[in-house]
């Protein structure tokens, strides 16, 4: 039940990010929209890994291997989430860098100003 709520929030975040990215004119808000979408995706990833009333897959005194198999959360999506978060951050950094250069080239951050090459 919990993972269904987490999944819905993740997907809602993706939709909100998309909406922000499509409607806002300012490039920085578009980038925020993209990072929101990224976060939403990461939440979806983690939601997929959730096992009914499971706990962190760390084998220690509190959770032996046999117990972990039934009570531990699926470790694979969490591992993938780490990588996805790093990629999300990397892409946002590159976007911000280009946003700065765009601002310097035209002294405006509105996406509509940057439509040189068309047709």
């Amino acid at each position: 039940m919990i993972s269904r709520i987490v999944l819905t929030t993740g997907l809602l975040l993706v939709l909100i990010g998309l909406w922000g990215m499509l409607t806002h004119r300012n490039i920085l808000r578009i980038i925020i929209g993209f990072s929101l979408m990224g976060t939403g995706t990461h939440i979806v990833i983690v939601a997929i890994g959730y096992v009914a009333n499971g706990t962190a897959p760390i084998i220690d005194r509190a959770l032996s291997v046999s117990e972990a198999i039934s009570r531990a959360v699926d470790p694979v999506p969490s591992a993938l989430a780490v990588t996805a978060i790093v990629i999300g951050m990397a892409v946002t950094a590159v976007m911000l860098a280009y946003a700065i250069r765009l601002y310097e080239s035209k002294k405006t951050l509105s996406i509509d100003a940057f439509t040189e090459s068309k047709w």
Partner: protein
């Protein structure tokens, strides 16, 4: 106006697609076969209590290697795009005051108190990556947040880019070297059994994972601070 309507239609239909996902989604009652075998294999084969770090730094280490390459390239691309060597960038425009003003005294004292705390916490995360939650990436990010705090508090402070660049490359090269060592000594590229697995749960255990995690932490820390440094006006 048509644009807004078309955006609404697009978002609503995508919402419907997502709704079909949520409806079709059934929560997992037990771990999937792959997850189950990982939970069994990681402690037994790699000796690492934290299954996720075990996966990240050995079984899917090739992904992590790709990850490092991604971060490495971002540092290089941001350097290229914002062109440190290029013409003096960021001519002070009217809404950005001369060179950055020193921040207020409260922030400076706060930084002096917090930075040691943050670095200890970061070191803890990195070194205990294989025991408790955490690992190289998370630790590196915490280091970077510490450095960001310092950059904010003391604007005139210039982190030594030369040093960061070199450590970054050396850490990356060492990581690949560890991978090659795995090829020669252990039975596969990036295999962590190049060092003894040691006693389960001890500080020095799970073969090369702590070493790899440390390298990863340092590298990510340096890279993120280089990126932050590039973004300053």
């Amino acid at each position: 106006m048509i644009r807004r309507h078309s955006i609404i239609v697009a978002i609503v239909s995508l919402g419907l697609v997502f709704a079909s996902l949520v409806i079709g989604y059934t929560e997992q009652q037990a771990a999937r076969p792959l997850a189950e075998s990982y939970i069994r294999l990681v402690p037994q084969e790699l000796g690492a209590p934290n299954v996720i770090t075990g996966i990240l730094l050995t079984y899917r280490a090739f992904d992590t290697l790709g990850e490092i390459a991604v971060l490495f390239m971002v540092a290089a691309s941001v350097g290229l795009v914002l062109g440190r060597e290029g013409p003096p960038r960021g001519v002070p425009s009217e809404d950005r005051p001369g060179e950055a003003r020193p921040s207020s005294e409260i922030v400076q004292t706060g930084t002096q108190i917090l930075v040691p705390l943050i670095s200890i916490f970061a070191a803890y995360i990195i070194m205990n990556g294989h025991l408790t939650a955490g690992g190289g990436f998370q630790g590196g990010a915490v280091i970077a947040s510490g450095i960001l705090l310092v950059l904010l508090a003391y604007p005139q402070y210039q982190p030594n880019l030369e040093f960061l660049g070199i450590t970054e490359s050396v850490a990356g090269a060492l990581f690949v070297l560890a991978g090659i060592a795995g090829l020669i000594v252990a039975d596969g590229f990036l295999d962590n059994r190049i060092l003894p697995l040691g006693q389960f749960g001890a500080f020095f255990s799970a073969g090369a994972i702590p070493v790899l995690s440390a390298l990863l932490g340092i590298k990510v820390g340096c890279e993120l601070s280089v990126i932050l440094e590039r973004f300053r006006p």
